[in-house]
């Protein structure tokens, strides 16, 4: 009993000490934030941004949406590296663990099944539309890829074997497709115009669309794989529809 009391008292003491520490920390953070807030207040808001520069070059970019133009043309190099970051996350995840997902989700309710069956094709459609829309309005590879990823998550939590039926090698190809195509187009541009990612003006729109489609597929697969949480070399439950082959496997 005595030792327990002792431990309890120690824990309480620790809590008290932590409280003092917390208060100090809180005070410091408040000071910091006040300083930063004042600075934000002071910074004049009238500095012209890069908006004019973007607008003046917009017609050479091959797309009508200014965000897409910045993302994939003017600052395409950033986006190239960023796609690599996503892929790196998957490689890192795969190096860490096996996917804990072969455990059968046996008690999927019929309602869930039905909803997923209805939703997933719709989500593919929305994703495709978002990618297409990226050239003139808000949208693009990342938004489309996010929707695809959500569809993938739905498929994973429901007992539909579509995603799990994709062989590991094919999954790898799907994951690398976007980044590799991006680099490929970048090098293609290097040979034609002398600049990395310097799209020829007349084909710029099409090249950007091509990159966006490939990247959307890869991003969708990436997000699903991250959700699955590990490398896919597990004993797969023998699926009865081995016909699934494409990256965004449509379900029966």
């Amino acid at each position: 009993m005595k030792t327990e009391e002792k431990i309890l008292r120690q824990a309480q003491n620790r809590n008290k000490r932590l409280d003092a520490f917390q208060r100090l920390l809180l005070f410091l953070i408040i000071c910091l934030i006040t300083a930063l807030g004042t600075i934000i207040w002071i910074i004049p808001d009238d500095t012209p941004g890069l908006a004019d520069a973007v607008v003046s070059m917009q017609e050479h970019s091959g797309v009508e949406s200014s965000v897409t133009a910045v993302l994939l043309n003017f600052r395409g190099y950033d986006t190239l590296l960023e796609v690599m970051v996503l892929l790196l996350a998957v490689i890192g995840a795969w190096s860490l663990a096996k996917a804990p997902f072969p455990r059968q989700v046996t008690n999927t309710s019929p309602v869930q099944m039905g909803v997923v069956r209805l939703l997933v094709p719709l989500m593919f459609l929305v994703a495709a539309y978002l990618v297409w829309q990226g050239s003139h309005l808000a949208g693009g590879a990342f938004q489309g890829g996010a929707i695809l990823g959500a569809a993938g998550v739905l498929l994973l939590v429901t007992d539909l074997p579509c995603l799990r039926a994709i062989p590991a090698q094919l999954l790898r190809i799907g994951l690398v497709l976007g980044p590799l195509l991006f680099v490929g187009v970048a090098l293609f541009c290097l040979f034609f115009t002398g600049n990395l990612l310097g799209y020829p003006e007349e084909t710029a729109g099409w090249l950007i669309l091509l990159i966006e489609i490939a990247c959307a597929i890869s991003i969708g697969l990436t997000l699903s794989s991250l959700f699955a949480g590990g490398h896919p070399e597990y004993e797969r439950p023998q699926s009865n529809n081995p016909t699934e082959s494409s990256g965004n496997g449509e379900k029966p």
């Binding site: 932590l18 917390q22 920390l25 809180l26 953070i29 408040i30 910091l32 934030i33 930063l36 807030g37 934000i40 207040w41 808001d45 941004g49 890069l50 908006a51 004019d52 973007v54 607008v55 200014s66 965000v67 133009a69 910045v70 993302l71 600052r75 950033d78 986006t79 960023e82 970051v85 996503l86 790196l88 996350a89 890192g92 995840a93 860490l96 663990a97 096996k98 804990p100 072969p102 455990r103 990342f142 997000l223 991250l226 959700f227 949480g229 590990g230």
Partner: protein
């Protein structure tokens, strides 16, 4: 002006809250969430810089693109961090810094 300021201050506040949580709480999940809140705060400030009231000129698309990049980066890092945290809890007898001894966190049900 006031809109930008409002959003920027909210962003700063989120940043501060996240930072406080990150240091004070030791549970890995809270730490990951705290970092996410922090980055959301930064993105909010960044988006606010792009804002222009209607008719005051073009909205600056560069911060938008930067935020998009930042979100993607943050998603990937979060996923990796979550996986690492799970992995540590699954495989180790080592206690994560904030894990209570009484097993407040139920053991993962295995593979």
């Amino acid at each position: 002006m006031i809109t930008t300021l409002l959003y920027s201050m909210t962003g700063l506040l989120l940043f501060a809250m996240g930072f406080f949580t990150l240091i004070v709480h030791s549970h890995p999940l809270r730490k990951i969430l705290a970092v996410n809140v922090m980055s959301t705060g930064v993105f909010l400030i960044l988006v606010a810089t792009a804002y222009k009231p209607l008719g005051m000129g073009q909205i600056d698309p560069v911060p938008h693109a930067m935020v998009l990049t930042g979100i993607v980066v943050s998603v990937s890092v979060t996923a990796l961090a979550l996986l690492l945290a799970c992995r540590v809890q699954e495989t180790s007898n080592l206690d994560l810094p904030g894990r209570k001894k009484q097993g407040r966190i139920p053991e993962e049900s295995g593979q």
